[in-house]
Subunit: 217 residues, 2 copies
DNA sequence: ATAATATGTTAGATGCATCTAATATTTTAA
DNA sequence: TTAAAATATTAGATGCATCTAACATATTAT
């Protein structure tokens, strides 16, 4: 097991590499709020441990071993967030910092049990997929209604909450899985969204509701 | 906030001082599985931070500040253990190592919520009192039936479980709060205990049941 | 009361993770 | 295409937490 610091480096390299494939020392330094030489010296150490491939003045890439570790940490982070919300009843906005700490807990039993209690969830509440215990991601990120720009057309594929009250709410609005909608207006002020429905009706959804509706464009 | 290492030193000093009041470098070194000079140099550092009072060749004592930190950690440890058992359904024997990690989580919200979910518990499942959020311990350790030697007489004062099935079990055995019992025999093999009841009947309790019954001698 | 034993301290080194200051390389722009 | 700007590396230092080897103080036992 690597140190806490090492785990944070791995996680950041992974996150930054998602966009570009390669990560630069300066990006990492910024993300981790340390100076360039700290990153440089850490990369040397991590390279000898075969966690990253790293050549001077070139970009940083995770090795397979590094990627596996990154995914294990991400799995723990996302399971922890979901657990804090669903089981412990904490607010979505307050769980990130706690999950940042819980992701470093070293106990397969602990996370096995969380996974069980949550019924082997596939996505966290942001639609991000949760890697399985072998570090495999089986599905792509889901897109929520709140991720779409005005004017786009999308099909509703799923919803996060399976609580009756939430489904009742959607029914009352006349929305169902499979419906095709157009994003008419996104309100910057409160994040609410107006949809154009196939039935020609306009439907207003609050941010809170819209973020729980998954779509395909 | 101190480092993880520092927190572990504080906790160990507190635990060792419970018996004797003073702690010796060699005891600490043994408990933490480090060499004497490591303890010595850590004590110097912790003394400058006013966490311990420490004079060369004399014993180590926690300051008020140190005690407060120790109790905060112990509170978190005991709440975590109880949470892992009661809420997450883990076995009592497997939670200690996880709690050793969770006790270092820095989030008052997290522990506030655990405390709520457990209904502000006063004791952990071993009868150890849980300090309150100000680091005050209001009650002494409780004694369980399994802590008593053969021949002792004791009064039953409380039980851990308030599940109906457990209380039914005690009823069926003819035991109630307030009953006076004598420890007749402790079976080393399986930890079961035979009681002499006031009704003259002999009652056999398994270890599992006996450890949940609190007594006063 | 002194020698032997146990316990504790100092000195000096190591690895991790960080920093500042100085230097080198790469990219970009004049 | 060379100078300026941006980015990266090396050198050398610091604090934490640990170690071994050498030395110091207490305790105990003869």
């Amino acid at each position: 097991m690597g140190s806490l610091t090492e785990e944070n480096y791995i996680k950041s390299v992974y996150a930054l590499s998602q966009a570009t494939g390669e990560v630069y020392v300066s990006e990492l330094a910024k993300k981790l709020d340390v100076k360039l030489p700290s990153v440089n010296s850490m990369m040397k150490r991590m390279a000898t441990k075969k966690l990253v491939a790293y050549a001077p003045y070139k970009g940083i890439k995770l090795t397979e071993k590094g990627k596996k570790e990154a995914l294990a940490i991400i799995r723990k982070h996302r399971l922890a967030e979901l657990f804090l919300v669903k089981v412990m009843g904490l607010g979505w906005e307050e769980v990130h910092d706690i999950a940042e700490q819980l992701e470093h807990v070293n106990s397969s039993r602990f996370y096995e049990r969380i996974d069980e209690l949550l019924n082997n969830p596939k996505f966290d509440p942001h639609g991000e997929p949760i890697p399985d215990s072998n570090g495999k991601i089986h599905t792509k990120k889901r897109t929520s209604l709140i991720d779409l720009a005005e004017g786009l057309t999308a099909t509703i594929t799923a919803v996060t909450e399976d609580e009756k009250s939430f489904l009742d709410h959607l029914n009352a609005k006349g929305l169902q899985i499979g419906d095709v909608v157009i994003i008419k207006k996104r309100e910057l002020f409160d994040g609410s969204i107006t949809l154009q429905h196939k039935s020609k009706k306009e439907i207003l959804l609050t941010h809170q509701v819209a973020e729980r509706i998954w779509v395909e464009v």
